[in-house]
Symmetry: C2
Subunit: 493 residues, 2 copies
């Protein structure tokens, strides 16, 4: 009988040791060779399920067979976020020290929901959150926590705003109450759809979202914001929050936070700053201009699992209003109390929609020490420089057109050959350009060497080159540029 | 200059290989020796933060120094969920094959939000979800997903119920709408506070929760349920969902699902079954009686990171109403579309409040194959047998009193010495028993050999022995019983 059936407990620790060493070699081999794989594998939806048995395994299988299948079925069918040619969306790199952190996290098996269920998980989270706060130059009034994703961080922030508006939504709900008017949240047309998800989840609804027009740089117009608030107030709708974005998802635009903060303060509204992508740039004192005014926010989100090279998942929520978050999410029940009824100074589950919480602080602690803030700054700085260089190539090539400013490390552009350059976007030329660029990105991604994504800016199909993968070097940007020009020329032919 | 400062990318893959082998030895050493540690370390809240530098590290540090600090500062200050003496709350064991899965998950760095961002993450999740569905004997109408925690699974289910009630809450919100009445969700007084959190988050509020009385076995009374619904309807409140629990958190009570399902069907209400803890028992065909009727539910939650020995986090949400979940959470934006605008058959982010999603299917796939369903059944069965045996010891000892039935692997009891056994709980005897049992659990936990938690049942302070840690053997239960009797005798002395 196999070990798996003869035993009634876990794998023997020494068998685990041997298995884990084998797995480490698999992991290191993957990282050493990932560049040879196509970033996005050439497979079609639905083609993978049939490769696996339709019924669950009744009998145990040897680990070697499972790892063989991992190599055969899993690795080739992944989108390789770890590939240096991954320039789509925003990168999530699982850095080597971050992976080591995940390994230790898995083995030590903490649930950091209560101090009692993980003293080190709770207090190391406080340490790391404060290190990051100091690193990005925010004042000590900001406290916070690590969540899974920016969606959850922003949901928590807006739940805080909902409580702060004074309607006791967590206690009384929003439905069937005459005294609760229509509530409104303001955000730019370019804000991320995690805010939409938060409004849907929180019972505010997509209808609560007022999308403010943007200027030519895709930044929120504070005059339009003030106007929208006034319109809502005069219609007896109740503004509760403004979401400003520093580094939007489409074009990494920077909303004018000082002007927006002034509106928020005047109107008594919660200000949430979404800098999930760009936030780590604030580690660099000389690059803090886009973040001016964010210290006036009630809450801020920064994602270590984006531009701090932390394995998914890790999002940092900082806030000056932990009290409102507690009202939104805190509960007590006998079965999670300490035996003597004592209350710990920090139980993180008081501030989150979930009870169970991973020990995310560990990987961040390891990463911050291994890179040092100085090592992180150098890498982020390098990505910004690469993006500036790529943008200069776009600008110098008459066949390409840049479609947005480049405040960080993402370049928005499109191919625009001479035949489609009559100076207007109107009618059929605009449609032909959209179709041409969709073909171009498909062709470039089809090479497997790079993976780009697209968006729409001002109605135009826009290719995004998002630099931020820890393994991306200058040669990968050069190669992407070569491929873009080569495939563009081939489209014309 | 250190590697960390001289380079602009990640750690060299071969350096990573060496570092990861060292980390594996640390992990294996931990697992091999965890039993020698006190389950809950004897530390006080606030004592750990000062052990770490108040300011973030500016310069990189060598990995060896970081791992030394891990051994010195992290390991001794964890609550050891991996310890075989962890019998508190409900166990979360990170099994060896589950840890191997987390290691590979970290290295391959997937974000399983869209098919395109992780084809294998998406389709392997479909495979594993269906394997688990078959394993627990549910019909193929149930589809589903892996989420982080039961809190999120139940939140998603209740968001589905909110949509299914016909008020378009995700689109229009719940506030300021005359046509939306007070909404109501029914659950027993013993239901888990994740449901309270979901109601708070979803804008339904704690006021939407109607806590139905329980019978002497702590199970929901269907007659009281029907009555409460009728009362609400006649007061123009709108019932939308019933939450039945199979295996409550306090005493693992089983709500009568067939009778509750009949009420839900008659009243047209969404039925959500919370079997986060007990669900894995349904892998054993001969032990499915408590789950009778759950196939009539609209949604069901089962947590692999509880009694399936999966590292946190992994919760399984099964539902027959994926359509309602899509209405509750789906959105589209240009920047996450495929370049050609095509739609994948399954993008899991359509059903979740978060966008980013970990590749949780991988660890489950490895675990299910390594243990086989047969290996999992044997272990779960063993835990139930151990609990029955422990309960028989309690029942046979006149100084102890069992306080609830034991349908699964958790035993609720208290110490009740002869002097406090006058047959009533009234007045001072009741208070003295509560205080005595609080002292008993504190003393037993203080030995460091086991870690028990408590709850309140019928107002009585109740000690819980929750068996479900993969590493717990018969000798650990015997030792816990020895310690309970020894420390109880010492209290009297």
């Amino acid at each position: 009988m196999s070990e798996q059936l003869s035993g009634l407990t876990d794998m023997d620790p020494e068998d685990f040791r041997a298995a884990a060493h084998a797995v480490v070699d698999q992991m290191a081999d993957y990282l050493a060779t990932v560049e040879r794989r196509p970033v996005m594998p050439p497979i079609t939806p639905g083609s993978l399920k049939p490769l696996f048995p339709a019924s669950p395994p009744e009998q145990p299988e040897p680990l070697a067979a499972i790892l063989d299948d991992y190599r055969r079925l899993v690795e080739p069918n992944a989108t390789h976020w770890q590939h240096p040619g991954f320039m789509a969306l925003f990168a999530t790199t699982a850095s080597a020290p971050g992976i080591l952190g995940e390994m230790l996290t898995a083995a030590i098996g903490q649930n950091a929901m209560l101090w009692r269920t993980s003293p080190i998980g709770t207090e190391l989270e406080q340490v790391v959150v404060d290190w990051l706060r100091q690193g990005v130059g925010l004042p000590p009034e900001f406290d916070g926590m690590l969540t899974d994703t920016a969606s959850t961080s922003s949901l928590i922030a807006l739940a805080g705003a909902r409580e702060a508006s004074g309607f006791s939504a967590a206690a009384e709900g929003l439905a069937g109450r005459d005294e609760v008017p229509s509530l409104r949240i303001y955000l730019s047309r370019e804000a991320h759809n995690s805010i939409d998800k938060a409004a849907m989840t929180l019972g505010l609804g997509r209808a609560s979202l007022v999308h403010i027009p943007v200027d030519e740089a895709y930044a929120m117009r504070p005059d339009a914001l003030a106007e929208a608030i006034e319109t809502d107030r005069s219609a007896a709708r109740r503004p509760i929050a403004i979401v400003a974005t520093v580094g939007t998802t489409s074009s990494t635009a920077v909303d004018p936070v000082p002007a927006i903060a002034a509106v928020a303060e005047r109107e008594g509204l919660w200000l949430h700053v979404d800098s999930a992508y760009a936030g780590p740039v604030a580690l660099i004192a000389g690059r803090r201009a886009p973040f001016a005014g964010w210290e006036r926010a009630d809450s801020i989100v920064i994602n270590p699992h984006k531009w701090l090279f932390t394995p998914l998942d890790a999002s940092l929520l900082l806030t000056r209003r932990l009290d409102a978050l507690r009202t939104a999410f805190s509960l007590s029940r006998a079965y999670i109390e300490a035996p003597d009824g004592s209350v710990a100074p920090r139980d993180y589950t008081d501030f989150t929609p979930q009870l169970g919480r991973r020990f995310r602080a560990l990987k961040l602690w390891i990463q911050l020490r291994w890179f040092g803030l100085e090592g992180l700054r150098r890498r982020i700085d390098h990505h910004i420089e690469l993006a500036q260089e790529f943008a200069s190539w776009i600008d110098a090539d008459p066949e390409f057109e840049r479609l947005a400013p480049v405040p960080f490390s993402t370049v928005c552009f499109r191919y625009r050959p001479a035949a489609l350059r009559d100076g207007t976007d109107a009618g059929s030329i605009s449609e032909r350009l959209d179709a041409l660029n969709a073909r171009l990105i498909t062709a470039v991604n089809g090479t497997g060497e790079v993976f780009l994504s697209h968006t729409k800016l001002g109605g135009r199909y826009t290719i995004r080159m998002a630099i931020g993968n820890l393994r991306t070097e200058r040669r990968h940007i050069e190669r992407a540029w070569q491929l873009l020009r080569r495939e563009a020329a081939a489209l014309d032919g």
